[in-house]
């Protein structure tokens, strides 16, 4: 096993997700399959290979400091499940 049910619960908590026991079980199995698949990479001999973060051999993709037009307020809020016309509305945090 690559992941325990406790770890699944921990990650769910970090994402503010409430999972039932059945869901924790199902998620753990699915996550384990994904992690096991990715773990195949560990079979490779990487001794002496520089750690890389990208497959592309390029660097420094910049944009100039120029202002472009933004979305309208209505467009920005359009996908919010709850909004009051100027702000997104979420359950109180503090």
């Amino acid at each position: 096993m690559k992941i325990t049910p406790e770890e699944t619960e921990h990650v769910a908590r970090l994402a503010h997700l409430d999972l039932s026991a059945v869901e924790v079980h199902a998620m753990t199995e699915q996550l384990d399959r994904i992690l096991s698949y990715v773990a195949k990479l560990n079979a490779l001999e990487t001794e002496g290979v520089q750690p890389t973060t990208h497959a592309l051999a390029i660097h420094n993709a910049f944009r100039a400091d120029e202002v472009h037009s933004s979305l309208t307020q209505a467009e920005a809020l359009a996908n919010g499940p709850q909004q009051n016309g100027e702000a997104f509305v979420v359950p109180r945090i503090i």
Binding site: N60, F62, E66, L71, A87, P91, I93
Partner: protein
């Protein structure tokens, strides 16, 4: 038992770019909520953030100004946390490969000069703003600030008192302002500070348990919050209690720190390199270009004011506290090249009028440096007395009128007309026979009395040197 205080500071400085760090939305403060947003800073799926080159340029400037080693290859990382001010579910920051490390700044506190180490400087995006409803159990999210470029400057835990912490913050603040890369406005949140503080018995190498302080939005609040927390921890330790490692919020109204449970629960950021952003590579040529364009920094300017202008160190420190004030001084100095006199005038007459809670805002001053120089020259040439100049200056500050206009409108030009003064002097001598007799009998201090009488008659406009001379002459020959 004696304790030693250990403080480390994290400063977040918003960079003065026009557009955000990874998209072209405006960074302007005060726009209506959610009007400076786009799919990139709203965290829509499938978008690609592209780094604003100016952010790197400004960060290099700060790194050079604080004696940091610039990392030739640096990389952005995702800091994962789930909070409504951050629509993507992660903040783009730097983790393993920040842009700069191992710097230092020099501070002076309690008459001692000390070097405070910087652990690192990294680039990151700011989060949005939450407004909590006072009645309903909801919060309102404004994402205008999301994606505003920040640098985070992390100090080594080498600060030993609240006073040193403030000196360190003021030094960073001054450097950022001199570099013109951050507006430094603490109330609007352009310059923010979190502090880690712990106590340990003097002589012990191991660090005590620390608390983290937030919500200190002025230098004064930083000082008061750290002093409060220092006392609170000392009291706990003296009673053999245990300091709890937690995040505390400074309550400036009640003057206490309060626990901020809730958000705290899990610091598990699961950093990993951001696959959307390729590495930043900074070559020597780029660094040299930035270095060549660096402005004079506060320490260097202060030293120059002492060495070249002959100012006392304390004056030079006050006059270089902000770039704007030092610029103001030098612009006036170009037209009135007497550094000490000009400095005194600025430090007493000008700063007294402009002093606010967190220092001086010279940009709000109605008197331009050229006009201050004109006023100083009028004193120098004997057109007005120093005393009248002070009144003229208050008028100039209130009305923004040039010195010459105020002097003319109020008819304040000093009387240097000898004939007119002699006539008045004769009147005074005739009216005060007793004082004249006493003066002639040797009480020469009475000259002050006579000059005072003349000043009354002329409403302070008689040239005092000339009045002294004329009285001495008149009383000697009479």
């Amino acid at each position: 038992m004696e304790f030693e205080t250990v403080i480390g500071l994290e400063v977040h400085a918003q960079l003065k770019t026009k557009s955000k760090i990874f998209c072209g939305c405006s960074t302007a403060f005060g726009a209506p909520p959610n009007t400076n947003t786009c799919p990139v800073c709203l965290g829509m799926p499938g978008v690609l953030p592209v780094l604003n080159r100016q952010v790197v340029e400004y960060s290099i400037r700060m790194a050079l100004a604080t004696n940091c080693r610039i990392e030739r290859v640096n990389q952005f990382a995702r800091k994962n946390y789930f909070y409504p001010d951050l629509p993507k579910g992660y903040q783009i920051s730097q983790f393993e490969l920040p842009i700069a490390r191992h710097g230092w700044v020099e501070i002076e506190a309690a008459g001692q000069v000390r070097r405070i180490g910087l652990t690192r400087i990294h680039m990151e995006e700011d989060a949005g703003k939450l407004i909590h409803d006072p009645r309903e159990p909801v919060s309102y999210v404004d994402l205008n600030r999301t994606g505003t470029p920040l640098i985070e400057i992390v100090s080594e835990p080498e600060i030993r008192s609240a006073e040193e912490a403030v000196a360190y913050l003021k030094k960073l603040h001054a450097i950022l302002r001199y570099l013109d890369i951050c507006d430094g406005n603490m109330e609007e949140g352009s310059f923010r500070c979190d502090a880690n503080i712990s106590l340990r018995p003097k002589g012990q190498a191991e660090l005590g348990t620390r608390t983290e302080l937030k919500n200190m939005n002025s230098f004064r609040n930083v000082q008061r919050a750290l002093e409060f927390e220092e006392r609170r921890q000392r009291d706990i330790l003296l009673e053999h209690g245990k300091v709890v490692q937690e995040t505390l919020l400074w309550d400036a109204d009640k003057n206490i720190t309060t626990s901020m449970r809730g958000k705290e629960e899990a610091h598990d950021y699961r950093y990993f390199p951001d696959p959307d952003l390729i590495p930043v590579v900074i070559d020597e040529a780029w660094i040299e270009r930035v270095r060549a364009a660096m402005p004079e920094l506060p320490d260097a300017r202060q030293a120059r004011f002492v060495a070249e202008l002959g100012l006392p160190a304390a004056d030079a420190e006050v006059l270089t506290a902000t770039r704007e004030l030092a610029d103001y001084f030098e612009r006036a100095l170009a037209l009135y090249p007497q550094a000490k006199k000009l400095g005194n005038w600025i430090m007493t007459e000008l700063l007294r009028e402009l002093k606010g809670e967190d220092g001086i805002d010279i940009s709000a001053c109605a008197v331009r440096p050229e006009e201050l120089a004109a006023l100083m020259n009028m004193i120098e040439q004997g057109t007005i007395s120093g005393k009248i100049a002070k009144a003229v200056f208050v008028d100039m500050l209130a009305t923004g009128k040039p010195a010459a206009v105020v002097v003319q409108e109020k008819n304040l030009v000093q009387m240097s007309d000898t004939g007119e003064l002699v006539r008045l002097i004769q009147e005074i001598i005739a009216a005060n026979p007793q004082q004249v007799a006493d003066y002639k009998a040797g009480k020469t201090k009475l000259i002050g009395f006579f000059v005072g009488q003349l000043m009354q008659k002329t409403k302070g406009q008689a040239n005092p040197q000339l009045a002294n001379q004329l009285f001495a002459k008149a009383l000697a020959t009479d």
